[in-house]
């Protein structure tokens, strides 16, 4: 499917859309004017699609430097009366949390939706925090779509609700909903208002304590109104397949419930909650009064389960309540249809047919994600490692950060020792330098440096830390699919913008030793790192070379692609290329000959500098 169809396909037609693509269509059908994000899996495709369509659709879109800035931009747009949409992965909301909390107090004029894409089972994240709790912490309504059609439809519902009660609305998806494809019936695209107007009312918008006290009260009143809506709305809906059990579910888990209940003829009533905060107390009270057993099926935290327990307690309803807290269902990780079926079987007398499936005892090879062939990070790690060895430095600490380069954790590089969050490598690096006598080398990418590394670097200089910061500038936000970073001369709308020079920024902060080096030149890079490592205080090396995916697509366009091969007459099978360099294009034949797979080789040629026998040559 051509991405343009998400904008251009007519009302009434159907498209086979990813949950993330459906979010964009839903926003466009709602006349969204302002959209912002910092990319992060599993939300990234939303931004990628906006980036392609925003200009044509008349929407302002930006890849912001981080989630906090993204949310602030959207909040301002909503204050000026525009409909705004900000989206991020779950941990991104931690970054944005400070401003997010205030947005709930201040409220909005134009509708505002904040989408958080949670990642149960951590397919590409450092944790699986359940951001439904954030709705409760901040005091904003919460929507939980189950499939792409609902993602789209709930955008409209969310904007209308947001405008009705003047609160931002949080929408929580999970990886399985964001990355689910399904048929989406389209509505009409609404052309956006391009500019809003901000009417000054400081008492309304500035939460100094006197105002904040009033605002908190107003926010609770607004939420009461939303609870009435939640009790009555048809998006909180029940299905009747029998009487033995009541199931309360939401989001992606609803899909498993429906398939398992119907396929196995389980005599259950299912209450699907979609507007789940404020929790619809009256609706749930009525539902649990009709059954003797309830099972709450929700992903990650027992959020709804605790709500149901407290409703049952408050109204003294005699009902057995099952879920995570009594171990009917697993406490952590994402659910699957199998898990849901086993959970249901534990609490009903009805037994489903025993599943037969195959197993194998064959041991299979592991396939961890690896740095691409031609990846500049490999060269950086190789050169830093050599420099450290040459200076005979022991117990060097390598705080790392979030990006492809986190893969430096793998052998043979093994240069990722400590990681907390986006931008943490510099803050933790400085901490280690004060707390130990060990040498510290922090690794951080260009996009991550702008995201949250900057304050850490200012802090390190200001507090006289002693560390080397290696900024791996690969000219993009590679891991999430190559979104532009501030060090590139292009932005999310495809406009030309001034490149922000990392070197100037670092110099401006007052770092004395700042050098930029191309890691593809291994010798020069090693030499630079060696000199930097001898420095006292904060030193910065910018290791700058475009991501291999950028150079590959350029080579593909120019139809110019060299690859390399090993001259078997020169090769002594020293295995340095395999054991130290570790480019995935290399492999060893059964008889021990080392080869390069021409289909995998990216032609970077850096391995020629690694081979002590000069055995690696251009394939003719």
């Amino acid at each position: 499917m051509n991405v343009e169809k998400i904008l251009l396909e007519e009302e009434g037609r159907k498209l086979f859309l990813l949950g993330n693509e459906a979010a964009v269509r839903g926003a466009l059908e709602s006349g969204v004017s302002f959209a912002s994000t910092y990319p992060g899996t599993p939300s990234s495709e939303i931004g990628n699609v906006f980036s392609k369509l925003a200009k044509k659709a008349g929407v302002y879109f930006e890849f912001s430097t981080n989630e906090k800035v993204a949310l602030e931009g959207s909040a301002a747009a909503a204050a000026a009366g525009l409909r705004s949409f900000v989206f991020m992965k779950h941990v991104g909301l931690n970054v944005a949390a400070d401003s997010f909390m205030s947005t709930a107090y201040i409220g909005v004029n134009g509708g505002m939706i904040i989408l958080t894409a949670d990642d149960p089972s951590m397919y590409s994240s450092q944790n699986e925090q359940d951001n439904r709790i954030y709705a409760r912490l901040a005091g904003v309504p919460l929507l939980e779509p189950s499939n792409p059609q609902e993602v789209k439809d709930l955008m409209k519902f969310g904007f209308e609700l947001s405008e009705q009660v003047k609160l931002p609305v949080l929408m929580r998806t999970t990886t399985r909903v964001s990355h689910m494809r399904g048929i989406v019936k389209l509505g009409k695209i609404q052309f956006p208002v391009s500019k809003g107007f901000f009417k000054k009312e400081p008492n309304k918008y500035v939460p100094v304590p006197a105002n904040a006290r009033r605002m908190h009260k107003e926010m609770r009143e607004k939420l009461e109104k939303v609870e009435e809506i939640a009790n009555a709305t048809e998006i909180n809906k029940s299905y009747d397949f029998g009487d033995e059990l009541g199931i309360i579910t939401s989001g992606g888990a609803f899909n498993y419930v429906m398939d398992v209940v119907r396929e196995n003829n389980i005599p259950a009533k299912v209450l699907k909650l979609t507007l789940t905060y404020p929790f619809p107390e009256v609706l749930v009270k009525d539902f649990i009064s009709k059954v003797s057993k309830v099972l709450i099926i929700e992903e990650v935290e027992p959020v709804m389960e605790q709500e149901v327990l407290s409703i049952a307690g408050k109204y003294k309803i005699p009902v057995d309540i099952h879920g995570k807290l009594d171990s009917s269902l697993p406490r952590i990780y994402e659910y699957t249809p199998d898990i849901v079926r086993e959970g249901i079987e534990k609490v009903v007398s009805h037994k489903t047919e025993k599943r037969r499936y195959f197993k194998t005892n064959v041991t299979l090879p592991v396939r961890p994600p690896i740095l691409c062939p031609g990846c500049p990070h490999r060269a950086t790690y190789f050169a830093v490692k050599k420099a450290v060895e040459k200076l005979n430095l022991k117990n060097v600490i390598f705080p790392t950060d979030i990006g492809c380069y986190t893969l430096g954790i793998q052998p043979p590089y093994e240069m990722a020792d400590y990681l907390l969050s986006m931008g943490s490598s510099i803050g933790t690096g400085a901490g280690f330098s004060h707390a130990t006598n060990q040498k510290v080398v922090s690794f951080i990418g260009d996009s991550t440096f702008f995201h949250a590394g900057l304050p850490g670097l200012v802090n390190a200089v200001h507090n006289k830390a002693n560390l080397l910061v290696v900024i791996m500038d690969n000219r993009t936000t590679a891991m999430t699919g190559r979104q532009p970073s501030p060090s590139e001369p292009i932005n999310g709308m495809g406009e030309e913008v001034p490149e922000i020079s990392i070197e100037n920024v670092v110099k401006g902060i007052g770092v004395k030793f700042v050098e930029t080096v191309d890691p593809y030149n291994l010798k020069k890079a090693e030499d630079t790192f060696e000199r930097a490592l001898k420095e006292e205080g904060v030193s910065v090396v910018i290791s700058k070379h475009p991501c291999a995916l950028i150079t590959d697509s350029e080579k593909r366009k120019r139809n110019f692609w060299v690859t390399f091969t090993i001259n078997q007459e020169k090769c002594t099978k020293c295995m340095i290329c395999i054991n130290e360099w570790t480019c995935p294009a290399f492999y060893v034949e059964k008889d021990g000959t080392v080869k390069i797979d021409p289909l995998i080789c990216d032609g970077c040629g850096v391995c020629t500098q690694v081979c002590p026998e000069n055995a690696i040559e251009v394939r003719k």
Binding site: F16, H179, N255, T336, P337, D338, L364, R367, I370
Partner: protein, 198 residues
Amino acid sequence: MKAYKIHLAGVGGQGTIKTSTIIGEAAMKKGLNVVMSELHGMAQRGGVVTTDIKIGDAYSPLIEKGDADLIIGFEPAEVLRSIEKASDKTFVIMNSARIVPFTVSLGISSYPDASIIINEAKSKFKHLYILNAEKLAMEAGNVVSLNMVLLGGAAAIPGFPLKKEELIQSMKENLPPKTMEINLKAFNLGYEKICKEH
């Protein structure tokens, strides 16, 4: 219609997700319900990629253990990794061309001999079709068309809910026009290969 459940298993870069989308859109165009789940995350960098598709009456795309009607295996080890999705009823297409991960050269994992994998597959699956999709793709003109070889193979599986023509139409809407000739050839080679086997 009771859902027809397809599991695709491969390695990043093999076109697993594209193939799934072609199947899904073809089903939609035919007026059937379809849901699909794709896991990408770090797929780009040589990791395992799987997708589940259900065509027909279903809410969730995820296939329960033993419940796949068809497994399209892009790589032999990946077929075995997905074995729990299969039971007696499952049809399995297995590409015999291997992708050996780098962990094997590094000595931190090992890749079983081809014969071990094939014997294991033969001893378990009741309806197994093995083909060298890489070879057929090269015959068609480009090794990257191996996903279309496998798609063609799927079209020839008894009970597969989409017709050859319906899939070809969807290919046209999802693949660059200049690659169509090779992809069509690849598709037909896969189709004929599986047809010959039953």
